[in-house]
């Protein structure tokens, strides 16, 4: 399960009020296999001992698709403005794991722009959400005039 960290790392070091999203996984104390969400046992070696691990916030899109029809509700909760197609895929992190996530790109959802894209974590709830550099530049909060 993803959680907000109590002492979030700050990439720029200047913003002390904004919490930075993070993903909490686990690492096996026997074989070092990484799991997400955090696991109580290791899928690789069966060990019962794991330690908490904050996963990398940057990664590369390993593979993805675009969800073009509205999922059944429940359980799906569409946004207030109604269903819009969205991209979903797996982001490969340097921790040695690929994490399922919603994917944001400009001209959303842009299937081709996400192929092999470098992406950054922008939310951890209700599920991990990563965005491309272009999306981040267009959505950087407080950077007045930088929005495209």
């Amino acid at each position: 399960m993803s959680v907000e960290t109590s002492t979030p790392e700050q990439s720029g070091g200047t913003d002390r009020t904004r919490s930075v999203p993070s993903l909490r996984g686990s690492r096996c104390t026997s074989c070092a296999n990484v799991a997400f969400p955090a696991a109580v046992g290791c899928q690789r070696c069966g060990s019962r001992e794991t330690t908490s691990l904050e996963l990398a916030r940057d990664g590369v899109v390993w593979a993805h698709t675009v969800q073009r029809f509205a999922p059944k509700s429940p359980p799906y909760v569409p946004p207030a403005e109604g269903f819009q197609p969205f991209a979903v895929g797996y982001v490969e992190l340097r921790d040695g794991i690929r994490v399922e996530a919603l994917l944001e790109s400009v001209d959303h959802p842009n299937y081709d722009a996400l192929t092999g894209a470098t992406v950054t974590l922008v939310a951890s709830e209700p599920v991990p959400r990563f965005a491309t550099r272009e999306w981040l530049a267009a959505h950087s909060a407080g950077a007045e005039g930088s929005r495209r």
């Binding site: 399960m1 996984g25 296999n33 990484v34 799991a35 997400f36 969400p37 899928q43 690789r44 390993w62 593979a63 993805h64 698709t65 675009v66 969800q67 073009r68 029809f69 509205a70 999922p71 059944k72 429940p74 359980p75 799906y76 909760v77 569409p78 969205f86 979903v88 895929g89 797996y90 040695g96 794991i97 690929r98 994490v99 399922e100 919603l102 299937y111 192929t115 709830e125 209700p126 599920v127």
Partner: protein, 391 residues
């Protein structure tokens, strides 16, 4: 080469039966199961009272052991199986083991389902996932298949044209299968031009949740001989769950690095080893085709070709009826729909029909001798069989 003598003790399929597949508003899933069982019993030339033990189930259409109310209260042990897409396969393995152990001489496996229209809508809690995965719209099976084939196409040079060709073959085969749901042949172009559902897969590349029942009667070699049955020899039946590093439906992550492992590869390898044959020996196959990409990937995962060779295989019509390895001659899940409990035994029914030479217009030429079946499903299960004609 093949050989029943390598098996613990020979097992014969002496009867196979199906209900109609596709929407049947006036029938319940249980009624389709009873139809399939009666068809299998008639095919074997036996009565329900001859069956000594039974196994079966559905994913969402009721308990198999309640079927005795319609079949007859003979008092036999009847075990319910609920194993996702491997439900039919697991029921068959249990029936085979009952024969091999000497517990019974005649055993039955049955699978059935009747799903509502539209995509499956599972609850995240049932899959050990936080509720957020459902709210965010990630509990959708089609996403997994699309993401898997998208990566595969990129790594192994499979084209969108090949995806369309595989789906069009399914509709063509369905058109000449009187029991299929989808009986209208579609061109490659029509498949490719259909609305995109999950890139790179269009609407007509997917199977739909559907309706149907399937039943198989197995017997010891002695019982098959005594009954004078038209038997097909079951060389192996294997089920497996996923190994480490696999990529599955509803996976919040893929653990490990490199190419994900494949439960289909594990199950197929075990089935071939147990049967004492190789993929190259197989004359006709049924491969899980949840969507067109799955059939393509399963060709390689089950050992029939190298990864990437499918592009040439499909272009040269290798998997068509009359090709070097006809695949899903009855139209597969794409043309028959996916009643989860029934699909695995539908596959076995089709191979039995082909090995007996009774498939009519869709019969594989030149008397196929060895057949193979493969199902794959969530959360990482696979069931495979190897069957041999007896002439």
């Amino acid at each position: 080469m093949s050989t029943a003598s390598q098996s613990p003790s020979p097992v014969a399929i002496i009867g196979a039966g199906l209900s109609k597949f596709g929407r049947q508003p006036d029938l319940t899933g249980r009624q389709m199961a009873v139809q399939a069982i009666r068809a299998a019993l008639d095919d074997a030339g036996i009565a329900w009272s001859d069956v000594e033990v039974a196994f079966g189930g559905s994913d969402g259409s009721g308990l198999a052991d309640t079927l005795v109310a319609d079949l007859g209260l003979t008092g036999i042990p009847f075990t319910n199986v609920k194993n996702g897409c491997a439900t039919g396969g697991s029921a068959l393995v249990a029936a085979v083991n009952a024969i091999r152990s000497g517990t019974a001489e005649i055993a039955l496996a049955v699978g059935f389902d009747k799903h509502p229209r539209g995509a499956f809508d599972p609850r995240p809690e049932d899959w050990g996932l936080p509720a957020g995965y459902g709210e965010a719209g990630l509990m959708v099976t089609t996403q997994f298949f699309a993401i898997k084939i998208a990566r595969y196409m990129q790594e192994h040079g499979i084209s969108e044209r090949t995806l369309a060709a595989v789906a069009a073959k399914a509709f063509r085969n369905g058109a000449i299968n009187p029991n299929a749901w989808r009986r209208e042949a579609l061109t490659d172009e029509a498949v490719a031009a259909a609305p995109m559902v999950n890139d790179p897969l269009t609407q007509f590349m997917f199977c739909s949740p559907g309706e149907g029942g399937a039943a198989i009667v197995v017997a010891s070699a002695a019982a098959a001989q005594r009954l004078g049955a038209r038997q097909v020899r079951l060389l192996s039946a294997v089920t497996r769950t996923r190994g480490f590093g696999s990529f599955e439906v509803f996976a919040p992550s893929i653990q490990g690095q490199g190419t994900p492992s494949s439960v289909s590869s594990d199950a197929a390898r075990a089935a071939f080893e147990s049967a004492g044959v190789t993929p190259a020996d197989i004359d006709v196959a049924q491969l899980q085709d949840t969507e067109a990409g799955a059939e393509i990937m399963h060709l390689a995962e089950c050992g029939f070709c190298e990864h990437g060779e499918q592009e040439e295989w499909i272009a040269s019509a290798a998997t068509e009826i009359g090709g070097r390895l006809p695949v899903n001659t009855d139209g597969g899940c794409i043309a028959n729909g996916e009643p989860i409990g029934a699909s695995g035994l539908r596959q076995v029914h089709e191979i039995v029909t082909q090995l007996r030479g009774e498939a009519g217009e869709r019969q594989v030429p030149a008397s196929p001798r060895l057949g193979f079946t493969h199902v794959y499903g969530a959360p990482g299960v696979s069931a495979c069989t190897v069957l041999e004609a007896v002439r």
